[in-house]
């Protein structure tokens, strides 16, 4: 089976179905409302013909016109939805941390798939970008049932490795998005807050909405190590040998300061920040997230 069974197991799907109603309200809360958009896209109602340019999907060629005129034209339709969402998933090495059964990346991918499932179920357009130093895999936001397998396929082919540069990924995403969209960043946000601010500023400048979903392991929250440990960085940082008990206080202080700075920056740009801890059921966490969104 399929990738669907890996990131969207039946139990989760059942739970997501139950959350459909909430999801709709989530989306509604994120966009301006349902109306016919002037934005072109793949839909039912035809709008106009346009001369083919390299990069257009061949299936969108109007073969009838091509046969009559011997010129390639593509058909353009009005999109029904007014929501385009791009989920930016952190695929860096730090997302590999976690127990063998569930790394942060697995949890984040499940979270992204769940969101995509929910939004596609609402006939919205959902895209995916898996980023490291930049966006390595990109699935443009689209609606429709076939988008989910494509989404899952991208996830399936991704694995956490390397260094992450969220700000580069945000710049990249802004450049790729043609229209105003909802950008959902799923990451551990182990990055400089100042650099993150630059990316968010760019995003906001282009009037995109931003939701930050932070995925953390319980160890990262509590630093529970006792024995002498050699911490080797998962993104190529220098290894450190220390007695964890003696640096724990400083670590916790640094972590809390970073989290607070992150929250302040998100608030400053009217972006939402939610934390997900991997030892918590994704269904519960998602339910809580959606409820909080409704409340918001």
């Amino acid at each position: 089976m399929s990738a669907v069974s890996r990131y969207l197991d039946p139990v989760l799907i059942e739970r997501l179905n139950y959350l459909q109603l909430s999801a709709r309200r989530v989306v509604a809360g994120s966009t301006l409302g349902s109306h016919r958009s002037r934005v072109k896209g793949a839909s039912i109602e035809f709008r106009q013909h346009r001369f083919y340019v390299p990069g257009d999907e061949p299936r969108r060629l109007d073969w009838r016109v091509f046969g009559r005129t011997d010129r390639p034209y593509v058909k353009e339709y009005d999109e029904e939805t007014n929501l385009r969402a791009l989920i930016l998933l952190d695929g860096s090495g730090s997302m590999k941390y976690g127990r063998a059964s569930a790394t942060k990346f697995d949890y984040a991918a499940s979270l992204a798939a769940s969101l995509a499932y929910l939004m596609l179920g609402q006939t919205e357009s959902v895209g995916l970008g898996v980023f490291r130093e930049r966006i390595d895999a990109f699935l443009a936001p689209r609606g429709g049932t076939p988008q989910l397998p494509r989404f899952i396929d991208v996830l399936e082919r991704s694995s956490p490795r390397g260094e992450s540069r969220l700000v580069t990924a945000l710049h990249d995403a802004v450049n790729r998005l043609e229209r105003r969209s909802l950008v959902i960043v799923v990451s551990d946000f182990f990055t400089s807050v100042e650099r993150f601010r630059e990316g968010v500023a760019h995003l906001k400048h282009d009037r995109h909405e931003l939701i930050c979903l932070r995925v953390l392991d319980r160890d990262e929250l509590e630093f529970p190590f006792r024995r002498w440990s050699r911490f080797s960085g998962m993104e190529g940082e220098r290894a450190r040998l220390c007695e964890p008990a003696l640096v724990r206080r400083a670590y916790m202080h640094s972590f809390r300061r970073h989290r607070q700075a992150l929250q302040e920056k998100c608030q400053a740009f009217h972006a939402e920040l939610h934390e997900f801890v991997t030892d918590r059921s994704l269904g519960d966490a998602l339910s809580l997230f959606l409820r909080s969104r409704i409340g918001a």
Binding site: Y97, F190, R227, R230, F231, S232, E235
Partner: protein, 721 residues
């Protein structure tokens, strides 16, 4: 430092356990692939450095904890100072117990001697074992024939300690230490100990503080001896004492005004505004007369002199006492002094230049000065005048003082008779003038206090005056309190004189030559004036000082026997009483009364009887107070009073030793000082002998270290929420 259980020092290896564990843990570290490195990398170098410091601090605390416990289990012992180690076997100990007068002080409700006895009892039990040689040596003037208390049973010594109940005299700790060393040499015990149980009075240690004592102690003290000093009582030094009674008007004459001067010393730092002074007299017959009662103000740390006029009504041996009511030692509040009262002063004036008319010759002036009333009861002296050519040695029998005024020469018999007269207690005053040739005097009167030179020539250049005068001399004491240093007496001529060895010069001329030279000879006194007492060579008889000078001079010259008697009758504890009687003595009738009303020790009483008198000697004078020797017989035998001083005046000075002095004493005799106020004597004694066990303090240190380690580990490595 020694260890009683050294095998446990092996446990010191346990101190390495934390280090080994630390290194093992460090070597067997766990590898963690960590995503949130930014929070570790972001830590400041100081945080990592601090963590390292904390690691090593915890490691040090754990290592020290285990090491301390291991050392504590080994029971380390810290030796006390430079004390020699204790050897197996018996102990010879000398306990020097201060029984001086200062130990009678009531210190906050407890008498110091009682505190000292308690300290000694603590030393004896359980510090001493049966079979140990223990000497107890009371430190004060005591009977030297009495051996120190000795016992080989501490319990017996404790019982005998109760007999040491009186405190008097002065303690000489240096002498006690010397005697203690001699006693220790008698014992073959391998351990030698000296304990000094005393108060904090500095005066008792004066001998130890002498510069030569340190070298002496190093030479005599055996290297194995351990010395421990246990000072008892407080450092209170508030005390008022009757320091002395000066018999100013000596000799005292019946019916004539005399004077004593009482010296009160307030040693304390607080002035006393209402000290009650009581001065009285006990006559030869035992009658008691009060001379003066007064309230005296005593400034702090000063001596106050109180003059008390006294008129005696009875001849013989009297006792003058002064008592003050004030805080401090009970033993120095009263002072008794034995005084001698004579019936009268008979003066024989041999005038070598007697002239017609009044106020011409020396005898005229002297008679006017000494017997102005021609009344034996009112006059200072009874005066008889004679010429050199008619007086015989037999004339000296009735006289107490002979004045040889300008007597030109003496026969051999006269000279010898005068010398004998002086030796027997008579007084001679010589005042040579123009009738005298110096070489004759030097040749004939070999007992003169000075060699005379020819007189100075009568000229303006030779005019001189009375210069330096020794106010303290009895002959010039009447000048005390006067503003002028010397009376204005112009002297035209005089005999320059060279004083003989042993002579005093109480007054000189302004050119430095002696005006008066005095000397004691036998029981009597000789006074040589280098200018006559008429108006030929000087204006002395016409000045206002002549009368008191003549009276004082005669009184002084007559006081030879009295002075000797006073000196022989005022004694220190232990000095024997020697009472001489010129009348035949029946030993059966002699009674000796001792202070306190007890019976005299007849074994210490001896009598010698001669044809013309006798001598009574009593040796048991270790109790201070008044002793009275009174024989009865066919003649008028007067009782004689002897006074044994309570304590030397220095004993009244309770000034405590300073810390510097204690340190110096400690260095000199290598002693350990144990203060009973700060801990039990037995514990200190054990610590001094065996050193101080350190296991308990070390366990305390271990507990503290464990608490530090726990709190540090909890604080530095504790889980935070």
């Amino acid at each position: 430092m020694t260890f009683r259980n050294p095998i446990m020092l092996v446990g010191l290896a346990a101190a390495l356990v934390p280090l080994v564990l630390h290194l093992l843990n460090r070597a067997r570290y766990r590898s963690v692939a960590w995503g949130a490195m930014m929070f570790l990398d972001g830590l400041e170098p100081r945080a990592y450095h601090g963590a390292k410091v904390k690691q090593w601090a915890l490691l040090a605390a754990r290592t020290a904890l285990l090491g301390t416990l291991a050392v504590a289990l080994a029971r380390p012992v810290l030796p006390a100072g430079a004390a020699p180690p204790v050897r197996q076997g018996r102990t010879a100990a000398v306990i020097l117990l201060d029984t001086s007068a200062s130990m009678s002080l009531n210190d906050n409700g407890r008498v110091r001697l009682d505190l000292a006895r308690e300290a000694v009892l603590q030393l004896l039990s359980p510090g001493m074992k049966r079979g140990d040689d223990v000497w107890l040596l009371p430190l004060s003037e005591r009977d030297p024939q009495l051996p120190p208390l000795y016992a080989t049973d501490p319990q017996e010594m404790a019982r005998r300690l109760k007999d040491v109940s009186s405190a008097s005299g002065q303690a000489d700790i240096a002498a006690g230490l010397r005697q203690a060393v001699q006693l220790l040499r008698k014992s073959e015990a391998p351990n030698h100990e000296i304990y000094v149980v005393c108060d904090r009075q500095a005066g008792s240690w004066r001998g130890v503080e002498a510069p030569t004592f340190a070298a002496e102690w190093r030479a005599i003290a055996p290297p194995t001896v351990r010395v421990m000093v246990i000072p008892v009582g407080t450092e209170d030094f508030d005390n008022v004492a009757v320091e002395a009674i000066d018999l100013v008007g000596e000799p005292f004459v019946i019916g004539q005004a005399g004077e004593v001067e009482v010296r009160l010393h307030n040693y304390g730092a607080v002035p006393r505004s209402a000290a009650l002074l009581d001065v009285g007299v006990r006559t030869a017959s035992g009658r008691r007369v009060t001379a003066r009662q007064a309230t005296i103000s005593l400034p702090a740390g000063a001596v106050t002199r109180v003059p008390v006029p006294i008129t005696f009504t009875e001849a013989g041996s009297a006792v003058v006492h002064a008592q003050v009511t004030a805080p401090g030692l009970p033993t120095d509040k009263r002072l008794d002094v034995s005084a001698e009262v004579i019936k009268d002063i008979r003066v024989l004036i041999v005038d070598g230049d007697e002239r017609e008319g009044t106020a011409q010759s020396a005898s005229d002036f002297l008679r006017a000065a000494l017997a102005p009333y021609r009344n034996a009861k009112r006059d200072t002296a009874t005066v008889t005048v004679t010429r050199p050519d008619v007086w015989t040695p037999a004339d000296l029998a009735d006289a107490r003082v002979v004045v040889l005024a300008n007597v030109g020469s003496f026969s051999e018999a006269q000279s010898r008779a005068i010398e004998q007269f002086i030796w027997d207690g008579g007084g001679v005053i010589l005042a040579p003038g123009d009738q005298v040739r110096a070489e004759n005097y030097n040749a004939q009167l070999r007992w003169l206090p000075a060699l005379l030179q020819p007189p100075t020539a009568e000229s303006e250049a030779g005019l001189t005056a009375l210069g330096a005068v020794e106010i303290g001399h009895p002959a010039f004491r009447f000048l005390k309190g006067r503003g002028e240093a010397a009376p204005p007496v112009a002297v035209r001529r005089y005999f320059p004189a060279a004083p003989r060895l042993g002579s005093d010069v109480p007054a000189s001329y302004t050119d430095g030559k002696p005006f008066m030279i005095s000397r004691g000879l036998g029981r009597g006194r000789v006074v040589l004036m280098t200018t006559p007492v008429d108006t030929e060579w000087n204006g002395l008889p016409l000045t206002n000082v002549f009368l008191p000078l003549a009276q004082s001079l005669v009184r002084y010259a007559a006081g030879g026997p009295s002075g000797i008697a006073v000196a022989r009758r005022n004694l220190l504890p232990g000095n024997p009483i020697v009472a001489d009687f010129i009348e035949p003595l029946d030993p059966r009738t002699v009674t000796v009364s001792v202070p306190g009303g007890g019976k005299p020790d007849l074994l210490r009483l001896s009598m010698a009887r001669g044809d013309f008198g006798g001598q009574v000697t009593y040796f048991g004078t270790y109790a201070p107070g008044v002793y009275r020797v009174s024989p009865r017989g066919p003649f008028d035998l007067r009782a004689q009073h002897f006074v044994i001083a309570e304590a030397p005046a220095a004993e009244s000075d309770l000034t405590p030793l300073t810390d510097e002095q204690w340190d110096r004493i400690g260095r000199t005799i290598g002693c350990e000082r144990i203060d009973p106020e700060s801990g039990a004597v037995t514990v200190a004694q054990d610590a001094y002998r065996n050193g101080m066990e350190l296991w308990l303090p070390l366990v305390g240190v271990a507990v503290v270290l464990s608490m530090i380690e726990l709190s540090a580990a909890r604080r530095w490595a504790g889980r935070e929420t």
